[in-house]
Amino acid sequence: MLVAALLMLAGAEAAGATGQGALPVSELIEHAAEYDGQTVTVEGEAVGDLMLRGESGWVNISDPTGDIGVWAPAQALRQIRNLGHYQTRGDRLLVTGRFNRADPVHGGDLDLHAESLLVVASGGRVDHAIPKGSLWLALSALVLGGAMTLAARIRQRIGVK
């Protein structure tokens, strides 16, 4: 396990590494039986959460066609610095490993057991600027809502027929 982790770390931050030969996640799902048990390569953004469970753990990676869970040594996973959320773009990972259509170790999950995990591009913070249009729209809607609230309250007090 430690040797495997070290091998993965030795390949970290490979500059210019590309995903040539990387399969789309949808290809693995659509042809799961064909790829079952084979060594495949997938490239995608690390998203959500790192779920470390002892010496190994999970990260889910996302490409434009879908998401897949990757089971890898904790040492390898710790090189991931950014995970994709609203305010963060996750690190881009290149993962090679054994594809499982129904992983017997993990309760039948369709997943990838990583043999190598490279961070090919770092993610980082995403700034969401506040569009002026959104601000004016919100203020206008609140003013309109407030005016109608006031009108209804006044009408209720007066009870005009």
Binding site: I29, E30, A32, A33, E45, V47, G48, D49, L50, M51, L52, R53, G57, W58, N60, S62, G66, D67, G69, W71, G84, H85, Y86, Q87, R101, A102, P104, H106, G107, G108, D109, L110, D111, V126, H128, I130, P131, S134, L135, L137, A138, S140, A141, L142, V143, L144, G145, G146, A147, M148, T149, A151, A152, R155, Q156, R157, I158, G159, V160, K161
Partner: protein, 502 residues
């Protein structure tokens, strides 16, 4: 002769619809609060826009009633108000979604709002991995709200002392009476739900910590997954749904709440009041136990025979879990949508479709036929067969236990079968439209069953690239299924009467 609705009728309906819409809008303070905490400024503005519009439309509708005292409601007006409240809330609820940029069109946004309200759980949202926490909180919350009933919420806390409250309550397909007063019943439903919310979120938070989530993320996920499970809605904050967590314990904790979420609120109240024997005597729990066991056996046999899953644990986590997810009409998934069609054989798929159609208990968050109607149907059928075998002069009475012993009358059996037939007809229409749009018959049937039963499992058909006519069809079917047809029919009838009546 159909009576043409009067101006007074429209004003009464507008008044009550406006009440529900205002309080729906005020609930948007929840995602606004989460957005402020998480520094998600754009979503805060989007929901503020939604809030303002709800106040404007809601109070605008209320202004149509000019007397100081609130009007009384007839049964028809109550049903129309319930259906119309949902429709108006749908149209306004889609506005923050559309403004967020995570939906490709207003129709897609409306689809997801209706999917949430009806606790279906199918989603057209884009880039779910990067959706803000405030938006995800709202997605889960409207599913939780839809399971309780928007009208129930309004009646519980905001519509005090209004005459005719019961009629609009029944219009939302709620007919349980935990307590003599309908307002008190509505509040009791909320007390049950909030207690479970606290307990369920705590348990899922602990489970999340155990599987490696950080404390903050585990709390958020715990709250979201609980709301989706209890409401049998099935939304999740990530595209892989429950598969994302890769955890048997996490699946089990969630499964406990989705199963009990599909139980009748009256059953919860009975157990809380100390009547635990009701669990084994109740017609719905017995029917659910029998049907889920038979269908699970069919799924297990098919999947085991075909070798889709090699061991018992995998068979349980994938086969049984999906079956229970379907039968409770939750829609949580531990496999990819396409795997249903690509890997599960025809018998397993058939069992899943039957489970989705049968559904959960009446007066719960679940959809489908409802176990009460299925149980009544079986009892009525058995009674008819027994009567044929008995001497003509013999008198036979069929009873069933549903919190008390009830004599099964012909009109009760007929009412149950009518609703079941309406479900089948609706499912068939959805199936036909799906097939007409070019989808294969199996996928179209699976998806239509999922939509009609407000389940949310998918064979991969539901996507933003679906034709608009299919999206609109599914929106209508979700709405019909959740309100159990009558309110929506009455609304359409009202409109027709407005044009044609005398």
């Amino acid at each position: 002769m159909i009576r043409k609705p009067t101006l007074r009728d429209f004003r009464v309906i507008a008044f009550y619809t406006g009440k529900v819409v205002v309080w729906f809008g005020l609930l948007m303070l929840i995602p606004i609060g989460v957005g402020l905490l998480q520094r998600e400024w754009k979503p805060v503005l989007d929901f503020a826009t939604g809030l303002g519009l709800c106040l404007a439309v809601g109070y605008g509708l209320q202004l149509q009633w000019t007397d100081r005292s609130a009007p009384d409601l007839s049964w028809t007006q109550g049903m129309v108000a319930a259906a119309l409240s949902w429709l108006v809330a749908l149209l306004l609820g889609a506005v923050p979604y559309m403004l967020s940029g995570y939906w490709l069109s207003y129709l897609d946004a409306a689809f997801d709002v209706m999917s949430g309200f009806t606790t279906t759980g199918l989603a057209l949202v884009q880039d779910l991995n990067h959706v803000p926490d405030s938006l995800n909180t709202w997605r889960m919350f409207i599913s939780w709200l839809g399971g309780q009933g928007m009208v129930v919420l309004a009646l519980s806390f905001f519509v005090q002392g209004l005459p005719g409250a019961y009629k609009i309550y029944v219009g939302e397909a709620k007919d349980e009476r935990l307590l003599p007063n309908v307002i008190h019943t509505a509040r009791a439903i909320w007390v049950v739900s909030i207690v479970y919310l606290a307990v369920g979120t705590a348990l899922l938070w602990a489970a999340g910590l155990a599987i490696g989530l950080s404390p903050g993320r585990s709390l958020l996920h715990g709250l979201w997954i609980f709301m989706a499970a209890w409401s049998t809605g099935g939304f999740a904050p990530n595209p892989q749904n429950i598969l994302y967590y890769h955890s048997f314990p996490y699946e089990i904790v969630g499964a406990v709440f989705l199963i009990i979420g599909s139980f009748n609120f009256n059953l919860h109240w009975s157990v809380w009041m100390g009547n635990r024997s009701e669990i084994r005597r109740n017609l719905e729990t017995v029917t659910f136990a029998v049907s889920s066991t038979l269908l699970a056996a069919l799924v297990a046999w098919e999947l085991g025979r075909s070798g889709v899953y090699a061991d018992a644990v995998s068979l349980f986590r994938k086969g049984y879990y999906q079956l229970i997810s379907a039968h409770t009409t939750t829609g949580f998934m531990t496999i990819y949508a396409r795997q249903f069609v690509l890997e599960w054989g025809p018998l397993a798929l058939a069992a899943m479709i039957v489970a989705m159609v049968l559904g959960g208990s009446a007066s719960s968050t679940a959809g489908g036929f409802k176990m009460l109607r299925v149980g009544i149907f079986v009892k009525a059928l058995a009674h008819d067969v027994r009567r044929l075998l008995m001497p003509e002069s013999a008198v036979s009475v069929q009873k069933f236990h549903m919190f008390r012993t009830v004599v099964l009358e012909d009109k009760t059996a007929r009412s149950a079968m009518t609703i079941m037939l309406l479900y089948v007809a609706t499912l068939t229409v959805g199936w036909a439209v799906g097939a007409a749009c070019g989808y294969d018959l199996v996928s179209a049937l699976f998806e239509s069953a999922s939509v009609t039963g407000n389940v949310g499992l998918s064979a991969g058909l539901t996507s933003p690239t679906m034709p608009a006519v299919l999206k609109v069809t599914y929106i209508l079917i979700m709405w019909l299924g959740r309100l159990e047809f009558l309110s929506v029919f009455v609304l359409f009838g009202y409109v027709y009467a407005g044009v044609k009546g005398r």
